[in-house]
């Protein structure tokens, strides 16, 4: 195999000279395209990446672009008289009190559930990481709720917290305490938070995997140095787990912002029923659904989704910026030019 074949065009050759692009062939090879390793690699890349690119274009880029177009119209999806309204929908999104209050409510929901579910998952992970009997059984039992489909979980909660025939009020009844309208304001939001935390098995599994990746020697060394369990947890476990926790923060925020659980836990998960979601649980995505399918405002709802998309990007960017210095990577995620691995042909 020649040096020319394994050196990328423009990359330094073993002799230190920049490799020239292969020139036109003459003689017996004239007219035939050269098949360098680089070309083959390029083809491999495109063949393997192609399906994803096609999927991305058809299922993500096209719908996004179409939604962007819709957001600039007053379309209801069914009428032929829709027209271009420019940025009017975006102006309304930013000035409509109901939209802004649903957004604020979503912010509170995120601020409440993301830290709580990560903390709960971490706590459970630490517990089931202990060398105890039937550890596998406990792990399975704690993870089980996360396997239950959200619709099933919501229906179960709906039955448990029904005011007149639910188990929760049954317990209160046995204690001679007045029943509570759990699925109405102001309790509905706490039922929702509980439902979210009920699925903490997901974060537990991720944290558990992270915990098992921490070298035991670090904890042993700390113990020999006189560190107690709390110091070991805060000074070793948490920093070593910080990339995992950071991942959970990012994905948790994105999932919570798009949460649809209030609709599933509502009484009637239809366009008509969406409007009966209690005010406290009326999150941004519920409002989007109501605008789309109850009010037939495809244009406005699309604008709402674009605004949410931008908000998620902004939050993600902000969290990344704020996490600098707080997340400990055992491998540098952004190698400097000096530490970047050499390309083929480098010495």
């Amino acid at each position: 195999m020649s040096t020319e074949q394994i050196t990328a065009p423009g990359a330094p050759s073993p002799s230190g000279e920049t490799a020239a692009r292969p020139g036109p062939r003459t003689g017996a090879n004239a007219g035939r395209r050269p098949r360098s390793l680089t070309t083959r690699r390029a083809w491999s890349f495109y063949v393997f990446a192609g399906p994803w690119v096609l999927g991305f274009l058809a299922l993500t880029a096209f719908p996004l672009g179409y939604a962007l177009w819709l957001s600039l119209t007053n379309a209801d999806g069914l009428s032929n008289n829709s027209r271009f309204v420019g940025l009017e929908n975006y102006r309304e999104v930013l000035t409509d009190p109901e939209t802004m209050s649903s957004l604020a409510r979503t912010g509170v929901f995120v601020a409440l559930t993301v830290p709580l579910s990560i903390a709960a998952g971490l706590l459970l992970a630490v517990l089931v990481n202990q060398p105890i009997r039937a550890r596998g059984l406990f792990r399975t039992l704690l993870y089980l709720p996360a396997v239950v489909p959200p619709v099933g979980a919501a229906l179960t909660f709906k039955l448990i917290f029904d005011r007149d025939s639910g188990a929760a009020n049954g317990v209160l009844d046995a204690l001679r305490i007045d029943g509570v309208s759990w699925l109405m304001d102001p309790y509905a939001r706490w039922v929702l938070v509980t439902l979210t935390l009920w699925g903490a098995g997901n974060t537990m599994i991720i944290s558990l995997a992270g915990l098992q990746d921490i070298p035991k020697e670090l904890h042993e060394a700390a113990r020999m140095d006189g560190a107690n369990a709390w110091q070991s947890f805060t000074k070793i476990t948490v920093p070593m787990l910080s990339p995992v926790l950071f991942f959970q923060v990012i994905t948790g925020i994105i999932a919570a912002v798009q949460s649809f659980l209030p609709l599933l836990i509502s009484l009637d998960p239809t366009p008509r029923g969406v409007t009966s979601v209690p005010e406290g649980n009326y999150l941004f995505m519920i409002h989007v659904f109501a605008q789309y399918f109850a009010n037939g405002r495809y244009g406005y709802a699309s604008a709402m989704l674009w605004v949410l998309f931008l908000i998620i990007i902004a939050i993600t960017f902000l969290v990344f910026r704020l996490s600098k210095g707080a997340v400990f990577y055992s491998v540098d995620p952004e190698p400097t030019k000096q530490s970047r691995p050499r390309t083929i042909g480098d010495k």
Partner: protein, 448 residues
């Protein structure tokens, strides 16, 4: 000129984009084939029917296919899916719907097929045999009840009528409502308050559910019985501030505040009255004749259930239908002739006869009315009350500018807070007018 064979990234992405768009187009075509004209292989037509989940079991579906000589591709009814399919101009061939509240909306957007030519030729579904309820499936561009027929009801009820349990009335030592004379809404509310049973802050037995088919239609009916109309004549605005509508609104606020039954403040977790009524947990249920199908299937329940005329808010005796559930054929349906064949079989054939005899609603063909069940005492009583109520049936026009869900949505947003804070009916009316009329104006702009 470069002879390099490395694939240009821009070209690759451009080709990918083109292929993706082509794939999108192809999938759309595939979708239309899937929902479309002919079945692959068997030579039979495949009719796509969007209906509720329990319309047919496996055996029933097979029997239907054999009777029709076509394959049925059943799609479970879902409002969001239907809207998406209509928007993509790839709708089912036949769609289940509520004629009373949906016809103006879809017809005004030119999404329904005018069925008059089919009715005029049919020897099974003759216009002279159609019950007047089928008029809710008509819309002439201005009002409901006139113009082309866009669908047909499978059966119907006068939905403000109510059922009550005689055992709970006896326990409360109350006289049963008259079977011939309608009671007033105030009397009805009073009965509900007396029949409700509570324990430790929880309602153990609802005294009354005042709205079986949604709050908005019920308010429409109440306003009409008081001699007014919730919609203005052009159907483009609502007026909750009129004396009649205000009276209806005031009554509903009082009902919700009394917490004697399911309401916007405390909806029934079952979603409908059936399980609650059957479990001895509801004394009076505002549902029409169709609810008797459920009651009749349970002998114990039939023994203690009776039917009563629709309560009235004023002197104008009105007893409307808020559903008239049936089927319609979308304008862009691929198999309209086959869809009509389905219509004739479903509305005029054995299924229609079986439905008429089951007690689940009044048949929508006059010729089938003698088949309504009148075997036991419960059925005889219900039939007699229903017969006396029929002359008071009327069509209340629904707006073409919004779906019922949108208007119910406003009620669900405004009323709970108003009930809790004790806001006056006048102020609530102003809020409802403002928010609903804004939505109706947006719809009107789109319909033109």
């Amino acid at each position: 000129m470069s002879t390099t064979t490395s694939l240009d990234r821009r070209r690759f992405l451009a080709v990918s984009a083109g292929t993706a768009l082509a794939a999108t187009g192809l999938s759309a075509c595939a979708g239309s084939v899937d929902n479309g004209t002919n079945d692959s292989g068997s030579g039979k037509t495949t009719l796509t029917v969007m209906t509720v989940e329990n319309e047919w079991d496996k055996k029933g579906l097979k029997a239907a296919e054999e009777a029709l000589g076509m394959n049925l591709n059943v799609i479970i009814w879902d409002a969001t899916k239907l809207n998406a399919m209509l928007a993509a101009k790839n709708p089912p061939d036949v769609v289940r719907g509520f004629g009373a509240t949906e016809t103006p909306y879809f017809a005004a957007r030119d999404l329904m097929t005018d069925l008059d030519p089919y009715f005029s030729k049919s020897s099974v579904l003759k216009p002279s045999d159609l019950d007047p309820v089928n008029d809710v499936w008509r819309y002439d561009g201005k009002k409901q009840g006139a113009g082309p027929r866009y669908g047909m009801a499978k059966d119907y009820s006068q939905d403000s009528m109510f059922w009550y349990r005689t055992d709970l009335f006896q326990t409360a030592k109350l006289d049963a409502p008259s079977a011939t004379e309608p009671i007033s809404y105030d009397e009805w509310l009073d009965l509900g308050k007396k029949l409700v049973k509570r324990r430790l802050g929880k309602v153990k037995v609802y005294g009354l559910n005042a709205t079986g088919m949604g709050v908005f239609p019920q308010l429409m009916g109440m306003t009409a019985s008081a001699g007014g109309s919730l919609f203005t004549e052009d159907l483009a605005t609502v007026d909750f501030s009129s004396p009649e509508a205000l009276k209806a609104l005031r009554w509903y606020l009082e009902y919700a505040k009394a917490d004697i039954g399911p309401s916007v403040v405390n909806p029934n977790p079952d979603g409908w009255d059936g399980p609650t009524y059957q479990a001895n947990r509801m004394a009076m249920s505002c549902n029409g004749y169709w609810f008797g199908g459920l009651i009749g299937a349970d002998p114990k329940l039939a023994g203690v259930s009776r039917f009563a005329p629709a309560p009235q808010l004023g002197g104008n005796r009105v007893s409307s239908c808020f559903g008239a559930t049936g089927f319609w054929i979308p304008r862009d349906a691929k198999n309209k002739d086959a869809a009509w064949k389905f219509f004739e079989w479903y509305f005029g054939g054995k299924p229609a006869q079986d439905r008429a005899a089951s007690g689940w609603g009044i048949p929508s063909l006059k010729s089938l009315r003698p088949k309504m069940p009148q075997t036991n005492a419960f059925q005889k009583q219900a039939f007699a009350v229903q017969e006396q109520e029929l002359p008071h049936f009327s069509v209340l026009s629904f707006t073409p500018y919004a779906q019922q869900a949108a208007l119910e949505g406003v009620l669900n947003k405004v009323l709970p807070g108003a009930v809790k804070s004790g806001t006056s009916a006048g102020k609530v009316a102003d809020q409802l007018n403002s928010r609903m009329n804004e939505q109706l104006a947006q719809g009107k702009e789109l319909v033109g």
